[in-house]
Amino acid sequence: MITPEVTATATAPGRPRGGLVNVPKRFLPVIATFVVFVATFGVGSVRYEGFASGQVMANLFIDNAFLIVLAVGMTFVILTGGIDLSVGSVVALSTMIAASALQAGWPAWLVVVTVLATGSALGLAMGWVIHRFGVQPFIVTLAGMFLARGLCFVISVESVSIKDPAFRELATGSIELPGGVTITYGVVIALVTVLAAVYVLHLTRFGRTVYAVGGSESSARLMGLATTRVKVGVYVISGFCSALGGLLFSLYMLSGYSLHAVGMELDAIAAVVVGGSLLSGGVGFVIGSVVGVLVLGTIQTLISFEGTLSSWWTKIVIGALLLAFIALQRIIVRRT
C-alpha cells in the first residue's frame, strides 16, 4: 500500500523506554497505592524500633488474611461496576454456621463445604435478582446483608466458641519461613485465592469479559459476549470469597458470633478503592486490592505501636486516604 500509515499519537508504539517515566496510565493508581504502602511502612520503621521486621510484615498478612480474600471477591464485583454490601454479614453467617455445626459434631470437611456452598448460593441468588429484575446491586446486596445478619441470630444470639481439634490445629499451626518469620495457614489460603483470581481475571474469557462489562456493558453485549453469565458470576465469586473469608475469620477468632465483622464490607470496599479500582467498573487489579488491604493494615499497626492513640484514628486516616484516592482517580480519568 502506498498510502500514509497511521500511528496513534496518544501512546507511542512499542514499549516505553526511560523506565518509570512512561508507565501506562492504567498502572498509575496501583503504583500510587504501593508508594503509599511503602511510605507508611517507612514512617513506622523510622519512628518505632522493631517495626521494620519480617514478622511485622508477616503479621500484616496474618491479621488481614480474611480481608484479603473479601477484597478479592469485591474486586470482581466492582470491576463489573457493581457493589456487594453483603460480604460482612456473610462472614458473620459463615462463622456462625461453622461454629454451631462443629459444636453439633459435624466433621470439619463437611462444615467447610457447607459454608462455602451457602456463601456461593447467597451470591447466586443476589446476582440472579440483580440480573433478572434489573435492580440496583446496592439495594439487592443491602437486602442480602440484612438477610445474612438476621440468619446469624436465628442460629444463635450468643457467641459460639470453636473447640474442634482439626480447626484449632489449623488456626494455631504455623509455617516457618526462612529468617524465623512464621505465617499461618490462613495466609497461604489467602495468597492462593489471590493467585487464582489473577489467573481468572487476566487469562480466561470470563475474566476479560468482567473487564469488558465494566468498561461498557452495552458494547460487551453487542460484541456477543456472555454478559449475563459474568454479571451473575461475579456475585457468586464474591459470595464464595465471603464464605472463605468467614472460614478464615472463624480460624482467627475461634468463635462464631452474630456481631462478628460488622462493617467489614466497607473495609473491603475501601481496600479495593484505595487499591486503585474505579467504582464505575472496568479499571483495577486484584494486586491493587491486596496492597490496599496492606495499607489499611499498616495504618492499624502504626496506631497500635503508637499506643496512646485511639483505634478510631485508623478510621480517620482511612477516610482521608479514600478521599485522596478518589480525587487521584478523577484526575487520571479526566486526563484521558
Binding site: 498510502t3 497511521v6 500511528t7 496513534a8 487469562l203 474469557r205 465494566g214 460487551a220 456477543g224 472496568g282
Partner: protein, 510 residues
Amino acid sequence: MTEPVVDMRGISVEFPGVKALQEVDFRLFPGEVHALMGENGAGKSTLIKALTGVHRIAAGEVRYAGERVSFSAPAEAQAAGISTVYQEVNLCGNLTVAENILLGREPRKLGRIDGKAMRARAAELLARIGLHIDPGSVLESHPIAVQQLVAIARAVAVDARVLVLDEPTSSLDADEVAELFRIIRVLRDEGVAVLFVTHFLEQVYEISDRMTVLRNGRLVGEHMTAALSRIDLVSAMLGREMGVLEEIERRSGTPGEPLLVAEGLGRKGSVAPFDLEIRKGEVVGLAGLLGSGRTEVARLLFGADKADSGRLLVDGKQVRLTGPRAAIEAGVAFSSEDRKAEGIVADLSVRDNLILAMQAARGWARPVPRKLADELVAKYIELLDIRPADPDRAVGNLSGGNQQKVLLARWLVTQPKLLILDEPTRGIDVGAKAQIQKVVADLAAEGMAVLFISAELEEVVRVSDRVVVMRDRQKVAELDGEVGVDDVMALIAGGGDHGVDQGVEKAVAS
C-alpha cells in the same frame, strides 16, 4: 451485471402506531460503496436494523447471497458475514486494542487466553486496514478516529461480506475522515459491500458509487452517485411541502439594535467558528441538514456547550456563558428540539410547567404567588390557544403541538430578550404549526429577537427576516430579505455549481 449480495424487496417495518418503513426496495452489490440517504426519521436506521435482525420485518423479503434469510439477532447477521459499525464506538475503552478486536474469539491455549497469539492476530488484522498501532495499547489512549478504525478492524475480523457503517464520520475531522475513506476503499476493492450512512453530502459524493434515498419511510429512488446532482439529492431528501399553511404577514417594523453578536464563536468537533448578529425585533432562521451544526450553534449561544474560541456580546457587553444559568440571566431562552427529554416535565401540570423557568429565575426563596401564576397561566393558555384549556392537566397527556406551546409559554413567562427555538414544530400537526409560527412573528413585532431553527426550509424561509445556512458544521451563507426555498436549498446542497443564481451568490456574506 453481478448479483446483489443483499437484496431487500418490499420491506415494511411497523412499530406500534407507526409505519416506519413502507415497501422499500434496497440492493447492495459486492465491491460497491452504497450511501443510504434521508433526513431524520426517513427510515435509514430502521432499514439497517431490519437487515441486521434488530427489527422484525412486517412484510417483504431479504435475500442475502442469493438465499432468503431472516435474522433474529445482530449476532446471527454477524455470523453470516454482515458486520455493523455504529455511530458511537461500541468497544470497551478500558481494554487493549487487541482484546477489543478479538474479544469473544480470543486464541486460547489449554483453556487460557494466549496473549501473544492474540496480539499477533490483532496486528495482522490491523495491518490489513493499514493501521499501525500497538495492539497491546489501551484503546482509550487513542483518539476517537482510531477507535472507530479499530471497530472496523473488529468488524472485518470475521471475513465480513457486508460492512454497514452507521454515521461513522460524525465525530471525525477531515484528516480522520480521509483515513477512514482510504480503508473503505481498500475493503471495497477486496469485494466487500459497504453500506454507508451519513449526513455529510460532501462525503457521500466523495466515497459512494450508488445511493438510495428514503423519505418518511418510503423509497424515493436509487441512483448512481455520479448521475445525481446535489440539488436533486437535497430536494429528493427534503421533498416539498405544499402550501397548506396560511401566509404569515410580514412585519414592516425595522429591526432595532443588535442584541446578540457572536464573533468567531466555535467549538472544536462541534461547529467551526462563526460570526452571527441578531437584532432586536428580528427573526433569524437557521437552515441546514441534520448534523450540519444548526443545533450546535444554538447550544453554544445558550451556554449548554462551552465555546472554545471567539466571544459573545449581549447588548453590547461581552458575556461569558459558563452554563445555561448564565445565559438565562443574560436574557436568552432556549427551547430544545427534544422536548420530551430536555423540555417539558411530563408528570407536572400545565401550570407547574409554565412557572418552572420563572421560579428558577426568582430563586427558591421567593415562591411565585398563586394569583400571579393563575393570571399568567390563563394569559398564555389564551394567547397560545393551548388545548384543553385546563391548567391542572398533566402535560404528558397533551398532544405534541400543545406540549410545544406549553414549552414556548414557559420561556415567554421569563420575558427573554432572545428566544432560541430548535425545531419547535417538529412532529406536530399543521394547525399548531401555523399558530406557533404566528406567535413567533408577533413576538418579533413586539421587539423580541428570535433564532428559529427548523429542518423544514419552507417554514424557515417564511418565518425569518434573515436566513443563516449551515453546511458540514460551518456557516456557509447569510441571506437577507426575501429569499426563496430554492436558493437556500442550493446553498445547503453546496458544491456551488448546481444552479445557484447570481442574486444568491451576492447575498452570501461569509
